[in-house]
């Protein structure tokens, strides 16, 4: 068993906090962005056409660029424009941009699983827009959205490790630092592994809970 000093443990916990911060901040930004993008893509108003095309272009482009490239683009753009923000904020922003694109695909797909006839039935019953979403489309779309969306969010907690490339000391980077400092690498990274698991497992539990609630509804 390795002897972690208090200092080492503090570093690991702080880095774990950073990873949570990146995941949570990026995830929430991504969810908000995805809702906006999906709303744009679903709008059938004629004058929204250019915005709708932009949303599709955004989603299709971002999903084809490696995460690390987006990260660098945002990082250097921020530098070029003289925006003085920490690397963590840059990383959260980039993660949000990417998550928005992926989650938008999941949201859009989920909404499309609701049969057209049900949407039309809600229309001819004269249900206003909010009621169509609240009672008819939302609950049925959610059951198709929650499992893949949580699956994606769990996957992308791991991807936050790439933020180390622009200098953010998150969990995996803390592992690198500790092993460079002479602690046994295998053990250090086994601890890192456990901490990643500790972050993402509750999310999976939450998903199961949500799925059950939706199924009951």
């Amino acid at each position: 068993m390795i002897a972690f000093s208090h200092y080492d443990i503090a570093l690991l916990l702080q880095a774990m906090g950073r990873t949570v911060e990146l995941s949570l901040g990026g995830g929430l930004l991504g969810i908000a962005g995805a809702i906006l993008l999906t709303a744009l893509r679903l709008s059938d108003l004629r004058y929204m056409f250019p915005l709708r095309m932009l949303a599709v272009l955004y989603v299709q482009t971002i999903r084809r660029i490696p995460f690390i490239v987006t990260l660098y683009i945002v990082f250097f753009c921020a530098g070029m424009m003289g925006v003085d923000v920490s690397a963590t904020v840059v990383a959260i922003g980039s993660i949000g941009l990417i998550a928005a694109a992926y989650l938008c695909e999941i949201l859009h797909g989920g909404v499309k699983t609701v049969p057209v006839e049900q949407v039309e039935a809600a229309l001819v019953l004269n249900l206003p827009l909010w009621a169509r979403w609240r009672y008819v489309i939302g609950p049925q779309a959610l059951s198709a959205i929650v499992p893949p969306a949580v699956g994606y969010l769990v996957l992308f907690i791991k991807d936050t490790a790439l933020a180390s490339q622009i200098g953010v000391v998150e969990l995996s980077q803390a592992g690198v630092i500790l092993s460079n400092r002479g602690l046994p690498s295998v053990q250090v990274f086994c601890v890192v592994l456990l901490l990643y698991f500790a972050i993402s497992y509750p999310l999976t539990c939450l998903s199961r809970l949500l799925e059950k609630r939706i199924a009951v509804h």
Binding site: P115, E117, Q118, E120, A121, A122, L123, V124, L125, N126, L127, P128, A131, Y135, V136, P139, Q140, S143, H217
Partner: protein, 257 residues
């Protein structure tokens, strides 16, 4: 002045005119059937009547009140007087039968849930579905789903009930039940417009037959037995699996009615 008076409905898809100057009239309590070859615009025409299909021109009079169907606000007005039963019913899959019926009355008409449920149960009882109130649509047979869809439409107390292919998904022996139900509703004063391919049902049930061809109204037959009297309609029906003169489903109303 006829109770329902639809005139000059035009629908365009790009350069194609899927509907041209289409119209029909109906008195209160009549059953009108749209027939015609596939692609003739029957379902499109039906959908214009409830604002699901945008039109570039057309007007609809209901009981003397004229609606410009091309106006953006027309959909809401049309939906206040009409209800539609879709071919695949469009029941909300995650809600009980009862909730399917009470959703619009409670959310749109702001009726109390108790009041709406009371009416819904009475309606289900009338349609022989009393014990299905708490079931989900997926647990029902095709015929039951259709009756639930009709019940949901009736909750809106429409003066005009539209049905898209009401018998196409049913077993032959269920077809008669639907016909009897529609006949009952019409006798209560509801005007019914259906799109149908089942010529036997059409000739038994219809007070008026509208033959559509290529987006235009080709012929209109009026009154009982009109299927046999109007030559174009009779010809169409005889070549599409029906006998214009027959009443095989035994649904034609009594002459004195």
């Amino acid at each position: 002045m006829p109770y329902i008076d639809v005139r000059d409905v035009g629908v365009r898809h790009g350069k194609n005119e899927t509907l041209r100057h289409a119209g029909f009239e109906a008195e209160r309590g009549e059953i009108v059937s749209f027939i015609g070859p596939s692609g003739s615009g029957k379902t499109t025409f039906l959908r214009t009547l409830i604002g699901l299909q945008p039109v570039w021109q057309g007007q609809m009079g209901v009981d003397g009140r004229i609606v410009d169907m091309a106006a953006p606000a027309s959909a809401r007005i049309l939906r206040e007087q009409a209800a539609i039963v879709f071919q695949q019913y469009g029941l909300f899959g995650h809600m009980s039968v009862l909730r399917n019926l009470t959703l619009a009355p409670t959310v749109v008409a702001k009726r109390s849930r108790r009041n709406a449920e009371h009416e819904a149960r009475a309606l289900l009882e009338r349609l022989g579905l009393a014990n299905k109130a708490d079931m989900l649509p997926a647990d029902l047979s095709g015929g039951q789903k259709q009756r639930v869809a009709i019940a949901r439409a009736l909750m809106l107390r429409p003066s005009l009930l539209l049905l898209d292919e009401p018998t196409s998904a049913l077993d032959p022996h269920k077809v008669r039940d639907v016909g009897v139900l529609l006949r009952d509703l019409a006798q209560d004063g509801m005007t019914i417009v259906q799109v149908s391919h089942a010529m036997n049902v059409v000739s038994s049930l219809s007070d008026r037959i509208v033959l559509l061809e290529d987006g235009q109204v080709r012929a209109v037959g009026k009154g009982r037995g009109c299927a046999a009297q109007q030559p174009d309609i009779a010809a169409f029906m005889n070549t599409h699996g029906g006998d214009a003169a027959a009443d095989p489903a035994g649904l034609r109303p009594d002459p004195e009615h």
